[in-house]
Point group: C2
Chain length 519, copies 2
Amino acid sequence: MTKRDFLRSIGAVAGVGAAYHTMSAMGLLGPVLAQAAAPELPLGSGYGKRVVILGAGISGMTAAYELSKAGYHCTILEATGRAGGRNLTVRGGDVIREADNRQWVDFDQEDHLYANMGPARIPYHHRVILGYCKEFGVELEVFTNDNRGALFHNAEAFGGKPVTGRQVMTDLRGYVAELLAKAVNRNALDEDLTGDDKERVLSMLTSFGGLDPDYLYAGSNRSGYQGEQVHAGIAPGDVNDPLDFSELLKSDFWQYKLHFSQFLNQNPTLFQPVGGMDAIAKAFRARVGHLIQFQSVVEEIRKTPEGVRIVYVNQRRNLQEAIEADCAICTIPAPVLKDIPNDFAPETQAAIESIEFEHAVKIGFQARRRFWEDDHAIYGGISWTDQDITQIWYPSNGYHRSKGVIMGAYIWDDKPGQGLRFTGMTPPERLRTAMAEGEQIHPGYTDEIESGVSRAWLNVPFQKGGWPRNYAAPPELLKPDGAIYFAGDQATALPGWQEGAALAAHAAVEAIHARVTAS
Amino acid sequence: MTKRDFLRSIGAVAGVGAAYHTMSAMGLLGPVLAQAAAPELPLGSGYGKRVVILGAGISGMTAAYELSKAGYHCTILEATGRAGGRNLTVRGGDVIREADNRQWVDFDQEDHLYANMGPARIPYHHRVILGYCKEFGVELEVFTNDNRGALFHNAEAFGGKPVTGRQVMTDLRGYVAELLAKAVNRNALDEDLTGDDKERVLSMLTSFGGLDPDYLYAGSNRSGYQGEQVHAGIAPGDVNDPLDFSELLKSDFWQYKLHFSQFLNQNPTLFQPVGGMDAIAKAFRARVGHLIQFQSVVEEIRKTPEGVRIVYVNQRRNLQEAIEADCAICTIPAPVLKDIPNDFAPETQAAIESIEFEHAVKIGFQARRRFWEDDHAIYGGISWTDQDITQIWYPSNGYHRSKGVIMGAYIWDDKPGQGLRFTGMTPPERLRTAMAEGEQIHPGYTDEIESGVSRAWLNVPFQKGGWPRNYAAPPELLKPDGAIYFAGDQATALPGWQEGAALAAHAAVEAIHARVTAS
Ligand SMILES: Cc1cc2nc3c(=O)[nH]c(=O)nc-3n(C[C@H](O)[C@H](O)[C@H](O)COP(=O)(O)OP(=O)(O)OC[C@H]3O[C@@H](n4cnc5c(N)ncnc54)[C@H](O)[C@@H]3O)c2cc1C
Ligand SMILES: Cc1cc2nc3c(=O)[nH]c(=O)nc-3n(C[C@H](O)[C@H](O)[C@H](O)COP(=O)(O)OP(=O)(O)OC[C@H]3O[C@@H](n4cnc5c(N)ncnc54)[C@H](O)[C@@H]3O)c2cc1C
């Protein structure tokens, strides 16, 4: 019996699932990824146990959802009147607040006219978040990061004229391939490449870079054709002249912008929930909303002999109240948490203080017409600029409809101070500044814009920043301090992603379950 | 008054449109693309003129739509009972025919369970087709070509084990960057790079390839992390080991598969009509269906002193009939057209005979479960293999639903004979062969598949092939022969794309208008 026959026989007898399982165990399936692995706690295993969860963001709600399935008695204390935390989608008629300003969102009320002011994209390998989307029936559509028709703009390069992603990427590959082919042909890499590989590298480079038979890069139709039509038409037409290599190197495009979609969390396929990212927050709220005490601002986090005691202000009644529980899961963002009186060990407090958050700012604009589609054939994706706005995002929804919401800025302190500069402005100043910068990329831009809204996360009470700048959580937050467990994206090596927030929740849930089972 | 002020003043006085126009003329807008430029013939300019159009594919229907708007009297002769030609979407319950077989499509009847057996994707710069989609209200969704979670498989490489696009692309960039950095540091490129550029190239390569501070490629987290989770989790985890460079070079991945999405017509953003590509054919049919005489097989194409005479068999009545007109637009695919008796000049006939069509084959499979999503986090995109099936396409729709239709093969004679081999099989043989090859990429594949359908275009009457293999039309087909104009994608330098078919129609319409106006 061959291995395959054996497997088929299992398939026949025990069903496809069993065969799969066996094959997976035998390592035959190639890259198999864990299914959205929610902790599967035994039903009822949490009965009689109380957990208080601080914060009703994605992390807090994930923890409450999983724990209450197992019978734990959960309470979520949430400072604001809304579930979702950084997961925030705004629509016409909404009012959003920062520390010292209030903005009224003046978008038209249509399904496709919304702005995700926090998370906006979900990469294909974020199995936990996508798993919840599947489980909760949150409909998904593709989010486009990498659109070769979008633009690169650098005031210092190409006379400040934007160039298309298509051109920049094609030409850079071409020049890299040409240079390497030259070096290979000059025998400069003979110590690195054996005879056969040398030949293969040359063929590979021809294809990689679009080189001519002499291994030179003389432009490529990959970058498009000259004139009003990007592609060949009735006759082939003339290919774009390649961009000057030296000028390309002088631009900042290649510093990361050009490789952006190579990054693991930015490469396709990415998704967005249809109608706005808050579809996820709403789906969680529909399941754990009854466990949330809104407008309950945590003011003290205390250890007790039996567990924890959380003091909070109930803002509706304007009363200080307290809740005791066997343990707590704390998802309050570090910049807020560090100032809340607590009984943490000094290492814990120091770890919390060590976490710095990005000064992230987003600005959404409603445009009266989809000029990016009509005039430039830009459908979704990102234009990059060296100005402070950093990016313009075109909507990955509502294609060909009459209006659209673009992100007129998405800043994260790529150049120090960018985020702070915008944070310090009044909302109207932010809009004006972003429009002026946008004009450099799309002349006439200002005239296309009907209204706008901004969010400077540093200036948002109970958030005080975008996401942790460090790329791994301090180890102190990966274990409980007494009966207090830490979660939120800050308690992971995947900060700035809802997946991290959910993973941290799962880790806390599993640790609590282990504690309860052991006791 | 500055240029900008001037423009603003126009904006204020004449409206945004006028300002845009002026700016466009002044070259200030950067890359502005022609709007879907349908010929704008004067209303009524075609009254009293008769045009007979041969073939009701996208090209023929486009011509009829534009000409009849201007008052021309159009008749379309279509051999089959369906409008759309190669634009063909199949669904449960459909019966499709080839020369010597009939297939009953046994898919479940749900919106997302269809297969585009002809065209399936529309790149963002196909302004004419997208323009019609906008005009006709054909809803679009993103089609994914480049999914870094999809697989590359080569029987000779990596022990025949599929590797992810993410790994292959990251590692190839890494190795290319490392080699080039070495050559630069060995001064092998000093004649090509001036001092400053040399430094900049090194920095650029670090970012391009993910090199370490010594300009070496030691793997990169861009390729993902080891274990069941692709990305970092609670702790960072271990980055994938880089694939062996020599092995990578021995695979056929880089021959074009790895660069596929660099190609102009394959790079993002791409679209598909929601519910199937035939939404476009149906939208045209809704507008010009009354002009189509179905089951009318053209058998002679004749010149007359006044114009043209087309002899055809009306298959419903089983009668030979004839139609006279001032001119004709012929969109019949060259492999069919070459055998139709005609009065063409010898050069025209030779040109038609010179066009060879690809032996394109597609195979659609309905899977009982979306194992690519569930087990592999593959959402849309293409897995490539060196086997004859060439590709597996995962659906860019119906994400997370219970079943899905994948393309189990899409062959175009990349290796000579591949298409012919599948064309020569019976439909059940095709399915079995494609399943067996698919097993190499997804063990257990066969057990997941519920039903399938194939289309070998060479074997389809009135088509006899996929699309022209040559990359520019013979010049003889770009001008009329007498009063006979040629259209279809074969009369362009954009064969194999509906955009070409529509552009050719526009060109024919404009030429006929010029002829009519001149006479
Ligand atoms: C601009 C921006 C863009 C982003 N882009 C993406 C993206 O594209 N994709 C993605 O997946 N992720 C993205 N993220 C990251 C994502 O938003 C976070 O990782 C995730 O939402 C964090 O969830 P959380 O539950 O850990 O924290 P939060 O959402 O911050 O929840 C914390 C909760 O605690 C509450 N709270 C604070 N203080 C108190 C208190 N004293 N008492 C009671 N409650 C309190 C807050 O009100 C809040 O509801 C982005 C974030 C930002 C800011
Ligand atoms: C497998 C495959 C994949 C493709 N992928 C894409 C893609 O992703 N995107 C894209 O844009 N394009 C794609 N194309 C190309 C696209 O399908 C064509 O460019 C386009 O549909 C051609 O339209 P047409 O009107 O020129 O020709 P056709 O669609 O071939 O129309 C010709 C018509 O003439 C009729 N006819 C033939 N002989 C006679 C006769 N004797 N008398 C009367 N009528 C006759 C035929 O029945 C047919 O209806 C693909 C094609 C194939 C085969």
